[in-house]
Symmetry: C2
Subunit: 366 residues, 2 copies
Amino acid sequence: MTTRADGQLADGRAIAYYDGHPGRGPLAPDRRTDIAPLQPASEIRWDPLQHDYAVIARHRQERTYHPPVELCPLCPSTDALLTEVPEPDYEVVVFENRFPSLSLRSVDYVTPLLDPPFRSAPAAGRCEVVSFTSDHRGSFAELSPERARIVVDAWADRTAEMSREPSIEYVFCFENRGEEIGVTLGHPHGQIYGYPFVPPRFFRMAETLARTHERTGSCLQCELVAAEVADGRRVVDVAEGWVAYVPFAARWPYEVRLVPTRHVGSLGDLTESERDALAGIYLRVLRAFDGLFELPAPYIAGWQQAPVRLLRESWHLAAEIFTIRRAPDKLKYLAGSESAAAVWINDIVPETSAARLRHALATLSV
Amino acid sequence: MTTRADGQLADGRAIAYYDGHPGRGPLAPDRRTDIAPLQPASEIRWDPLQHDYAVIARHRQERTYHPPVELCPLCPSTDALLTEVPEPDYEVVVFENRFPSLSLRSVDYVTPLLDPPFRSAPAAGRCEVVSFTSDHRGSFAELSPERARIVVDAWADRTAEMSREPSIEYVFCFENRGEEIGVTLGHPHGQIYGYPFVPPRFFRMAETLARTHERTGSCLQCELVAAEVADGRRVVDVAEGWVAYVPFAARWPYEVRLVPTRHVGSLGDLTESERDALAGIYLRVLRAFDGLFELPAPYIAGWQQAPVRLLRESWHLAAEIFTIRRAPDKLKYLAGSESAAAVWINDIVPETSAARLRHALATLSV
């Protein structure tokens, strides 16, 4: 049973500790006196040609960049170093990002512009950091299933919490892992973005799911899971209530979609036993990625949850996990075709990729 | 006046030399005897959830990867080394890629699959390499305006040529520059992809342009150029018939849209004097990018031309040029928000970015 204890940092940001058992006493105060108040001047700007927003976050250019281990802001505070986490130890902790791409506070620092074709607004969302463990040298894949389960509960709880904010339309829980994809803090952590709009990739998926449901009465995600299980060639792992498979049209060298077999929209809709099973299969998939080349995989893992309000009904929850490593010494770069035309070229056949991930899994289990 | 001379490589691939003056005699034959025939097993696979194709190009995993200078396949052939270019010298040369992501030949190596939800087809397109100069150590930005003009003519000619192919729906001329974005050949070169579908990013733009035209009778791109010129803050450079500006909702740290002020759809529609002016302003913009940090900019530059058939009428030509370098020692990485949610976070305000590019330009002109 995961419990939560709420605190506040010196500059007013919220912090929440998630523990596997009750008993965390009164919270240690944030003793930092030199921490400047947040002035997040984030804005969203409308691109009429691409029918899309871009987020302009001018204050982020100076964000913390590869600090040395002994100055890690995600490690628990000690007498020698006051970090972002005042407590001397923790299991999982979530706090507002000090360099947020999106912030409700941006309404104080950004004036909306409505001068067509130029339209912008404060990026009135929220960015949180989720530290998966107090162990700086760890990784998500090395968590115990019990600890991973706390992260799952924290994701679900943060999603519910952020969804109550009227300006937030989508809650995206994700992890960027590895310097190769630009991670600037080595401590194992993820992020939660509460966007003030439904991100275009998810909006298009929501439209597709809604359209299919309207036309056929069924769920496309349910159909895809069933078809993948029947085919079998791209299935990587199964657990009670979960299937992990490489999509038929995978865009990344190694990419897994992890889907609950029950039609649920969000992490908060999962039962206790589904969450336990998720913790197990999620860890196995991450370990398979690390096992591919016997190297820590640079990966992005993100939860595709139902939008907060729009096109919510027909959504089916999934996680997407992919690495940009295509060979021990080669990365997949997004160049002209991907970045400028949005056409992904994948050099590895999904069936091969799935076989290699299964092999990595089998090797793990020995 | 640009002339073209057509040849063929030992494995049957086409090669075309573009010169600024007539007079190239009979073409040197490709004397390589050890070059294996192309067996491009590229396929496009349909992703019903994202309503999108992915290209699976299994034969590309083994493509040429950072060869040493003395083995560069884009340098002219010598007695000591037979390269992809049989001639002893050239100005601009275009040939079919030996490791194509898309190829008309793929119909011989890929069986279409129509077993819903699994649908795939041969990636029946075409990939060409454009070598901008025989000088291995050069770069596009260092070309003379006369040489740059030959490249413009080559782009226009290849576009016309590829557009005649019934299975090609979009011709994309682009350059990836710099190891930082994954370029594996140091020789200055670009690429042309003939896609068997309209790439999603351009399809959405085509829809927007068509919808606007239908509703208002006017062109959104024309409106945007006029609004940017009137505002002025994001304009980087102007030339006769051309405006280069940083879009109001720029997604990249430094990003320029280069647009003809006359409403034309494709490179082939440009007049002689528009092409000359383009060569000049394009070179200045590239040099401004290199001047930003006094370092060769890792950039992607691509031409947004009208689709070959679909939604063609309302299109307005533009080039998009952006770098992933956000500071002398920092790159912009595409992580969770960009790669998984398609929401770009840009740390640099477009007005600031434009001012810095103007400053770099002014410094150049001294």
